[in-house]
Symmetry: C2
Subunit: 330 residues, 2 copies
Amino acid sequence: MNILVDAMGGDKGPKVVVKGSILALKELNVDITLVGDESIIRKELSENNYTGDRISIIHAEEVINNEDEAAMAIRRKKNSSMIIALNLLKDEKYQGFISTGNTGALITGGTLITKRIKGIERAAIASPFPTENGMAFLLDAGANADCKPDYLKQFGLMGSIYYEKLFEVSSPKVGLANIGVEKEKGNLLVKEAYELLENSNINFIGNVEARDIPRGKADVIVCDGFVGNIILKLTEGLAFTIFDILKDEFMKSFSRKIGALLLKSSFKAFKSKMDYREYGGAPLLGISKPVIKAHGSSDEIAVKNAIKQTKNFAEKDIIKIIEDNISISE
Amino acid sequence: MNILVDAMGGDKGPKVVVKGSILALKELNVDITLVGDESIIRKELSENNYTGDRISIIHAEEVINNEDEAAMAIRRKKNSSMIIALNLLKDEKYQGFISTGNTGALITGGTLITKRIKGIERAAIASPFPTENGMAFLLDAGANADCKPDYLKQFGLMGSIYYEKLFEVSSPKVGLANIGVEKEKGNLLVKEAYELLENSNINFIGNVEARDIPRGKADVIVCDGFVGNIILKLTEGLAFTIFDILKDEFMKSFSRKIGALLLKSSFKAFKSKMDYREYGGAPLLGISKPVIKAHGSSDEIAVKNAIKQTKNFAEKDIIKIIEDNISISE
């Protein structure tokens, strides 16, 4: 197994990606191909005293930044680490690709270069979403702002297969994010998607109201990319805002400061429960090879976990199963 | 000034509505007309030892429940407290109406019976949304699951006028809920709405990402009713989930329990900051008379505050100002 890793991109640059790759080698039986600026990568490898032969380097002159507009970057930066890796990914030699870089470029590039799975109309970002009782997957988390009902049906199918295989949970619960639980609720898009999901062969549990998403009512939450991105970003913003307000309150008296000190471990436990780093990253479902988008602010642990996840994604033959199910369901 | 109050509906029934009305009379110079079951209302008035003459009763035989489908309820329950009140509201004698009942029926009934402001295409629910630095208004919060760009422009205009007059803040910041700050981000709906809002005479600050809504980046947040309802319900669900998880953590050791005790007042302060009851309710903007929807779980304080808000809504001549601005902007 040989996993392509985009050494560039991400808020913390090649340093954490190289470190994360070395950590992954200690844990997993894989080869890793780092794509990016060769001299920087070599420097990081030697700083980490890596002398093994399971890491290869493929040089890339350019980097796609987070500020780059996706379609433009794909056209113009042919020599960027991401585009080179997406081209290499078409080769049987490589079983998957992970990047901490520009999400838009990764999904557009994955679609245009590595191509979609036959029959899949749109690739989606399946974002891990921490809930009260574990981890759910939300898709689409932002790749497709405008969706057709059939896309949502395919998101449900892909999400269900990914969740089932990756977590070894049979028939995961798939819910449609909606503004009421009744079948007739929602906008035109979700009303039609409901019909399609209901008639598919997945474990569709119907509509899930937004208030029930953090409760873990569904394992896979289906929505268009606009709604999905709103859900993700609002969750992030609210958690930060709540803790900011509480922190201010905690500083208002001596006894409160003592209280906060006594609860420090509780807050820490809460944060680790909500920590995306433990999980790794978001699979781009619908691309014909395993692609994982790791968070831009990933540290080496998150990179290591994302590499592990890419390996699992490839080993469990998820793409083949999606392919077979799509051809049956169409 | 005479305010119509729906005595029925709401999770806690006529008891809290009558109590809230009596509280309102102590604070405000208004007359109140309670619409609902006369014998129940009389009983509640006498139990509260109310003997004044500023409360009138108009009898209604029926009640629209939360389970009733809106359009059906409007057609079938002509003698319900809500429908009778919406009909009375057309009379100059009454300056506004508040209900804790079925939101869908209220907006449909308001539109069909009391009618929209001339030029307004859709009425919207403007929900108060507590933020780090105060209170924002989010509209539409769920009345219109499918919107056209022009509706969103009108929501921005109405929200801006309401916020400006009610809070006496000049040129409140109006933002468009979106999945990125750049103008070209989002789905087709918000891209077109952006153009319209940009060319209107309100203080449009552009796109607001969901993570910045709780931070109070905008005073008025414009979105379609599907997205608005997702935002509201997710906020509610997340706050509850976070506190549930923290509570579990706090119970795990003796020192944590002590810590939680020392922080009790902090959590209380936080909760009161987030408390909708302090504020009252959600105005239905676009109806030709002031209508306020108070939360179904309102207690008497919330009802009192919602009556106060209805009075303000009427006194500030907000509907006339919306009317004038719509005719200019079209």
